[in-house]
């Protein structure tokens, strides 16, 4: 009997081609993503200032980071911004989706209007809202001209309120997207379940509260994860809207990292802040992605 022979050349080549094709992507991922994460992680333990240095200083940068009032403000701002941004986007998105799902005339007109801000750059959004919120020429000024002299809306100039203007602009940009996610979820619910619930005598309110909204759980989860990671990464909007000001009032971790690394020449501290941002996002994304990848198998 013939011994098993070597695979012919073509067969062996065919076995290798898929791996060769994937290789550049894998290599770039390993270098540019994970390699860079390791590198930045290492820098966060060094005394790098204007240029990377490789002298280890232990946890010094992290210790210093949490001593910095600017970082504390950035973290507090992120907490305010993220929680309001997520909560308001979900509230508006869900309400709009439920209302749009009532066989609304002109749904085809309204949906794109709610969603178009998502196509814009945060820089454009920031530019538009910067002037709209400017009391000198924007909404306040207009209402004064229209005769409402006592109207006052100067949050963008107030260090205690400016962070809320970032929330307004960010909600304007993203809530339509959340609406689309919920709408897709609503359209996926089996109409027979709704009919059955109505046979059981559920009112519209109870129908939504007890039957429909609980079935939107996956949409809630996705919306939360997407918004949370957008919140942590928020950079452009603050730059365009407030530039981090007035003063440091709207500083976020993303703007903090940038200014400490590239303009204040404290690269070690900047790297440490980037590591903390990554950890925050990893804590949100990894369990989510794990569950998403796990499920269908």
């Amino acid at each position: 009997m013939a011994r098993p022979v070597q695979s012919d050349l073509r067969t062996r080549l065919q076995e290798w081609i898929p791996k060769i094709v994937l290789a550049p992507s894998v290599a770039s991922m390993l270098i540019f993503v994970y390699g860079f994460i390791v590198f930045t992680g290492y820098l966060s333990f060094t005394n790098s200032r204007i240029l990377p240095s490789f002298d280890l200083v232990g946890w010094h940068n992290y210790w210093r980071l949490f001593q910095l009032p600017t970082w504390t403000i950035a973290v507090q701002n992120l907490a305010i911004f993220a929680s309001l941004y997520i909560a308001i986007c979900i509230a508006i998105g869900l309400t709009l989706a439920i209302f749009l799902d009532q066989k609304i005339r002109g749904e085809g007109m309204l949906r794109p209007i709610f969603l178009y801000p998502m196509a814009l750059s945060f820089i454009v959004t920031g530019t538009a809202w910067k002037w709209l919120l400017d009391p000198g020429i924007g909404i306040e000024h207009t209402l004064h001209l229209w005769g409402w002299e006592s109207f006052h809306f100067g949050w963008i100039k107030s260090s205690s309120m400016a962070i809320y203007t970032v929330v307004i602009a960010a909600v304007w940009q993203s809530s339509g997207f959340v609406m689309a996610m919920f709408l897709a979820g609503l359209r996926g619910i089996d109409n027979e379940i709704l009919k059955a619930a109505q046979m059981d005598g559920a009112s519209n309110w109870n129908l939504y509260r007890r039957i429909i909204i609980p079935q939107l759980r996956p949409a809630f989860l996705s919306a939360f994860v997407i918004l949370a990671h957008l919140a942590v990464k928020s950079y452009d909007l603050v730059i365009a809207l407030t530039g981090g000001g007035p003063g440091r009032a709207t500083e976020l971790p993303a703007t903090f990292m940038y200014s400490y690394t590239f303009t204040r020449n404290e690269m070690g501290v900047g790297a440490a802040s980037a590591v903390i941002m990554l950890m925050t996002i990893a804590a949100i994304m990894i369990p989510y992605l794990y569950a998403e990848l796990k499920e269908p198998k």
């Binding site: 081609i17 898929p18 094709v21 994937l22 992507s25 894998v26 991922m29 540019f32 993503v33 994970y34 390699g35 860079f36 994460i37 930045t40 709009l96 209302f99 009532q102 066989k103 609304i104 309204l110 969603l115 178009y116 801000p117 998502m118 196509a119 814009l120 750059s121 945060f122 454009v124 530019t127 538009a128 002037w131 709209l132 020429i137 924007g138 000024h141 207009t142 229209w146 339509g176 689309a180 996610m181 109409n191 996705s222 942590v232 950079y235 452009d236 993303a254 990292m257 802040s273 980037a274 941002m277 990554l278 996002i281 990893a282 994304m285 990894i286 992605l289 998403e292 990848l293 269908p296």
Partner: protein, 294 residues
């Protein structure tokens, strides 16, 4: 109205509720339209009408001077070039970056679904996580590497950056799309004598139209709208549109030319807005596919 609404739909609403719903929806439509409308109106007004008048009022004198100025003569940084060169930069960055990352994503998705090997799920998981990292974590080493390979401050450098960090999403899109195709298709083609690339372009690629559109739109929007990489890695001559717009808006010394800023902002938004208007269906699909598993 109610007659048509009631048939076959489980949820019924009365007239008062429906009126409220319509009012609510219209109010929000106004909220979403307001900034764009304000920008449009004020971009065709002389500056004096804005500073001295009402932002919401239609112009008394219509002028396209702000648009011309924003496009070709406004002061950006030190040069009075207008936004035109930066618009061109953005196109020079976006087109190759979108093309390369889409092609690579398609091939990756094909390999990851149809030529599976041990560890492919872990690889994909790592690729997927890379979509969501805060890019601050890669800024410092990326700046060094671009310097080392001589691409610092250049258009090719930005293309490289956008390709590298776009691969996760493009791969995700194609993988989810191709996983719906039976693997038996590939096996049948193998028995028929087609090889790796032939199977791809004769069988999978002809079926990939929708996902290619979704991916291109997603990548186009993301890269066009990028600011962080542009402001970190671009040189004065290779700045993309978003960075230039920000410079225009932030650094105007003297009188703030709101009308020029608005015209510039609309110019920066125009390409993605047009894509959105022309193919909104695919745009939404892309957004959803990026968040919920397809």
């Amino acid at each position: 109205m109610s007659g048509a609404v009631d048939t076959g739909v489980a949820i019924r609403t009365n007239r008062v509720t429906r009126t409220f719903i319509y009012l609510f929806l219209l109010l929000f439509a106004l909220f979403y339209l307001l900034p764009l409308a304000v920008m449009l109106i004020n971009s065709v007004k002389p500056l004096s009408e804005i500073t001295g008048g009402n932002m919401m009022a239609l112009p008394n004198v219509w002028t396209f001077e702000p648009w011309r100025e924003a496009w070709s003569s406004a002061q950006i940084g030190v040069q009075p070039t207008g936004l035109r060169p930066y618009f061109i930069n953005s196109i020079l960055i976006v087109v190759p970056a979108v093309a390369i990352s889409t092609i690579m994503g398609a091939l990756n998705g094909y390999v990851l679904t149809k030529w599976r090997f041990r560890g492919d799920t872990i690889l994909f998981g790592m690729l997927l996580f890379s979509c969501f990292i805060p890019f601050q974590i890669v800024l410092i080493p990326m700046a060094r590497v671009l310097g080392m390979i001589g691409l610092a401050g250049s258009v090719p450098g930005l293309i490289l950056v956008h390709v590298v960090y776009g691969l996760g999403f493009t791969t995700l899109y194609f993988r989810n799309y191709y996983s719906a195709f039976p693997t038996e298709l590939v096996r049948a083609a193998q028995i028929d004598g087609a090889g790796f690339f032939r199977i791809f372009y004769r069988i999978l690629l002809p079926l990939s139209g929708p996902i290619i559109v979704v991916t291109i739109i997603w990548q186009f929007t993301n890269i066009w709208n990028d600011f962080l990489f542009g402001s970190s890695f671009a040189g004065q001559a290779s700045q993309p549109m978003t960075v230039a717009l920000n410079n225009l808006v932030q650094s105007s010394t003297g009188v703030k030319a709101y009308n020029v800023h608005f015209a510039g902002a609309i110019l920066a938004a125009l390409p993605t807005l047009i894509v959105y208007i022309v193919s909104g269906r695919f745009f939404v699909r892309g957004l959803m596919a990026g968040s919920v598993k397809g």
